[in-house]
Symmetry: C2
Subunit: 664 residues, 2 copies
Amino acid sequence: MGINSNRVEDMSGHEAPQETTATATTTSVIVSAMPMPPLEVHKVCLPPARTTVQKLRQRLSEIFFPDDPLHRFKDQTLFRKLVLGLQFFIPALHWPPNYSLKQLKSDVVSGLTIASLAIPQGISYAKLANLPPIIGLYSSFVPPLVYSVLGSSRHLAVGPVSIASLVMGTMLSEAVSYTNEPILYLKLALTATFFAGLFQASLGFLRLGFVIDFLSKATLVGFMAGAAVIVSLQQLKGLLGIVHFTSKMQLVPVLSSTFHHKDEWSWQTIVMGASFLVLLLTTRQISMRRPKLFWISAIAPLASVVLSTVLVLCLKSKLHGIKTIGHLPKGVNPTTSDMLYFHGPHLALAVKTGIITGILSLTEGIAVGRTFAALKNYQVDGNKEMMAIGLMNMAGSCTSCYVTTGSFSRSAINYNAGAQTVVSNVIMAASVLVTLLFLMPLFYYTPNLILAAIIITAVIGLIDYQAAFKLWKVDKLDFLACLCSFLGVLFISVPLGLAIAVGVSIFKILLNVTRPNTIVLGKIAGTEIYQNVSRYREAARVPSFLVIAVEAPIYFANSIYIQERILRWIREEEEWLASNNRNNLKCVILDMTAVTAIDTSGIDTISELRRMLEQRSLKLVLANPVGSVMEKLHESKILELFGLEGLYLTVGEAVADISSSWKA
Amino acid sequence: MGINSNRVEDMSGHEAPQETTATATTTSVIVSAMPMPPLEVHKVCLPPARTTVQKLRQRLSEIFFPDDPLHRFKDQTLFRKLVLGLQFFIPALHWPPNYSLKQLKSDVVSGLTIASLAIPQGISYAKLANLPPIIGLYSSFVPPLVYSVLGSSRHLAVGPVSIASLVMGTMLSEAVSYTNEPILYLKLALTATFFAGLFQASLGFLRLGFVIDFLSKATLVGFMAGAAVIVSLQQLKGLLGIVHFTSKMQLVPVLSSTFHHKDEWSWQTIVMGASFLVLLLTTRQISMRRPKLFWISAIAPLASVVLSTVLVLCLKSKLHGIKTIGHLPKGVNPTTSDMLYFHGPHLALAVKTGIITGILSLTEGIAVGRTFAALKNYQVDGNKEMMAIGLMNMAGSCTSCYVTTGSFSRSAINYNAGAQTVVSNVIMAASVLVTLLFLMPLFYYTPNLILAAIIITAVIGLIDYQAAFKLWKVDKLDFLACLCSFLGVLFISVPLGLAIAVGVSIFKILLNVTRPNTIVLGKIAGTEIYQNVSRYREAARVPSFLVIAVEAPIYFANSIYIQERILRWIREEEEWLASNNRNNLKCVILDMTAVTAIDTSGIDTISELRRMLEQRSLKLVLANPVGSVMEKLHESKILELFGLEGLYLTVGEAVADISSSWKA
């Protein structure tokens, strides 16, 4: 990458002459007494010539390998390369050599903490996806183990998450009833999980990880808030004890279903549900205010489950209205590879659900991983992480698990509890294993209402109104994207809301490309700096010149606009000059510094503009075209039209050279 | 727009002191003998404060009124404003005051010339749209008259065109058979024309004209070539005399249909068709080689029609296999407003066909108008032109016309024949009127093969292989878009081919945004210019500094990439420094000149980057953030994080100031 070329020798202490003029004020008189060099005009260079194949290769390597993943292997022995390669694919090999007892202690504490959260949340989220509760526990066992081998984040707590569960539940139950055809529904869920994993792993393997970048933060804020509202309202079913509830996910049917079945409301359920909800929300508030007390909110769900189960057990003769989980099978995950479903009428649905839940859970997992990696100052490789999450889901789909990823809430608790490595995930999986083997009968009397309360407490944190407010303050269009995805999820549907939000985000990019800024530059007195005249009071226009900076690539989508806008700037300038009896405009300088790319339409625009201005006896010159633009101008032969005198390295040199040529 | 602010007084002859240093080499010693000013660091300004409403208003006015259409009305009397307003809406009012006899003569000549082309082409194109031939003549009468009142191009020759006819024919005949239900088919065509006009006029009225800019030139080159190939192959029906021909439009069914009906081939038709095709192509070649002989290709179609009709009439007893047009009704356009179809099962199809043919014919009309306006140095207002074309089509749909626009081939001939104003369109319409009233029976014996030959001659010019070759040379991705639309049209379908091509074009924009260039800048010795070190040999890195320019807006779609890429530049630099025993890196300067916009994700990236570098004892400063970026940084409070010393107006000032602070 030319890193070794053109480097001035490091003359310890920056005493190179060209620096002194600028930095050392005391010596300035001496320096400036030296005769000024004659007016020097620097030639605009073409970038080093490259063949099409070289260009393509560089382009592709920037698209697919921006992080240069092979740089670690450079200049290493073969054995070292092998070790590094193995470590690359199995990050778990990194930590054992230096793993200490102290780290193990931390990992055990944090692993047990997240297990106490993962067990009740696993059961709850499975219900959110309309799956049997036991699937949620299975999903908290195998995937964390797979991730602990392949994953590169040290703080990610892996398991089922609310958003992916919600989306899977919505999309599948639109086509298949989970009450009438539970086996088919489960098959579809497992198949969707398989495709989610396949999709995630392929994205990582093909190094297409940047696809998830198109879900902007603004989009996600709105989407998550909308999903949280819907999920919370859906929990009214459990909290009010309603039996016949809609399976739809939009705001209107959920609310109407709630009030349509008033006769099914059970006061015992309401009282108990409300009390536990208040309890859980209070512990959440306490932990948020005082991060040191994180364990209160971590332990609260399990405590509530135990407490409510005991209560129901003791008062079962009096509390008829309260629905409980009922029988759960004992034992570890049964294999389900034979339940995957690769043909038949619902395959398309399973693939679609897989892709959408896959991309959503990937986004959450990567974002969570990056957040905690940044806090502890280590790097998470997005593409590798995608492969890890993908393989974990593919393995999960064969062992009774549905879509899992890194959960934000549990990872935060994992981090706060002092997790050091992925061993905390292993500890958590072990605790879940103990539960699966021995403790399942204890859940018989656990009331559904407590699951509803746990879900509400978990998803309420997804409503990030402060982030939305900041979006409004900083960027109105970002806020619009956020609002669109929020309302889209609430009133239309989850996938469509997401699609609308992505559309708005892309539209925003296109809008910026279609209607770029053009500004008029003026010279800051005493310098060679040219700046926006409407922003810098010191910047003044140079007589007979009009300097226009175009702040965007010139593409088919904006070439007509840019041409018209430049002509308008010229017209307005000429009108002003005429009405103030000033000298005529003689030269238009286009500052191309921010024109980072050009296509064939853009090239036509430039030559068209040059032709039009020539007819009006106005000179058009370009200042500082960037490398790729220069190449295209050269290839299209337009440079010959401009010739040597039509291209300058800076606006300052252009003004100086052209005005001196006028004098001569 | 700040046009009056900050202007240095025009001191006749540029003798302002700051210019002398740069321009007058002879006085440079004297000037430079003045003591140098102390190191001056310019503050980075925020743009003038504006309220949200002001910002929104400016943004909207740039989107919808980039040409400032009201500037003509400024500082005028009320009466003058009224006249100007009337002229604005009816451009026809512009020319009568100065219209001369000489101009009239030119217009009559050119009007008659294009009429001789419009009559056979009108009949041919109507057949291309599977409509009765007479509809093509009707469409060459009313729309040109409407356009001559509302249109602002002086050279546009209005009438049916091949692409729109083809697309309408394809889309409608997929749902309705034009042989079995000719009335319904005609109704649908008229309704589609109405919606095309409504869509076009709304685009113009709502000033959304930029929508058509998304059909890039590359897309159109491919699309038109594909359409031309399909249309030409379809004409094999007429040229070979096949009766049972497919109504499909893809390459494969058309070719298989041609060879499947070999028994229907008629040798008389083939001989006659081939002869006339060769004749027409020869005249086309002659006119292309010698533009002065344009009238040869202009007159050839009508001459061929006359000749072939006479031939068929004389030899009718011997030429059985040759199909002729047959009876055509006399008289002017019947009104068809009662045939428009605003409900029922095919409404959606009519709307869709209308929108697609509308946008295609608009693109052709506007492009043609702009081309000839540029040649004669006048401006065509895109949005006004859209309203004119739209109203013309709406009027047409009520008077038996189908979609019309400005035809490229006829406009070129109009231009070459010396057309001065839209009067040439009026003359053409008058000629068509005479034909409609008196000459219709003459077409009874006109053979269909001649129409096929005329169509092929017309569309063959749409295959612009030179443009495609230029695309390949200048921009490989543009060529890909071109190829996609070409192949899409040939093998899939016309609308889908178009959609794919637009998709590729948008993908290209997004790709450029997702993977922007980042370059390392070095200082050109003896100047304050910082340039790409891999492009300019003179540019050398400044010790202890790393100057990185980001060449794109920082968005959600690229913020992760930019962060990783910058970290990689730093890593590579540090590795190089370490292996060469140089001083450590101390400061990273981000040149933000080309970062034309930033969103909330981008802001997070900047502050994240600053935090990460701070932990590694590296200073991060920003140079020259543009106005809108500066505003966003300010609103998000990130500026406070950077403070005064983290922002510089130029890279040069940043280097100078920071290195002097290290010394102090």
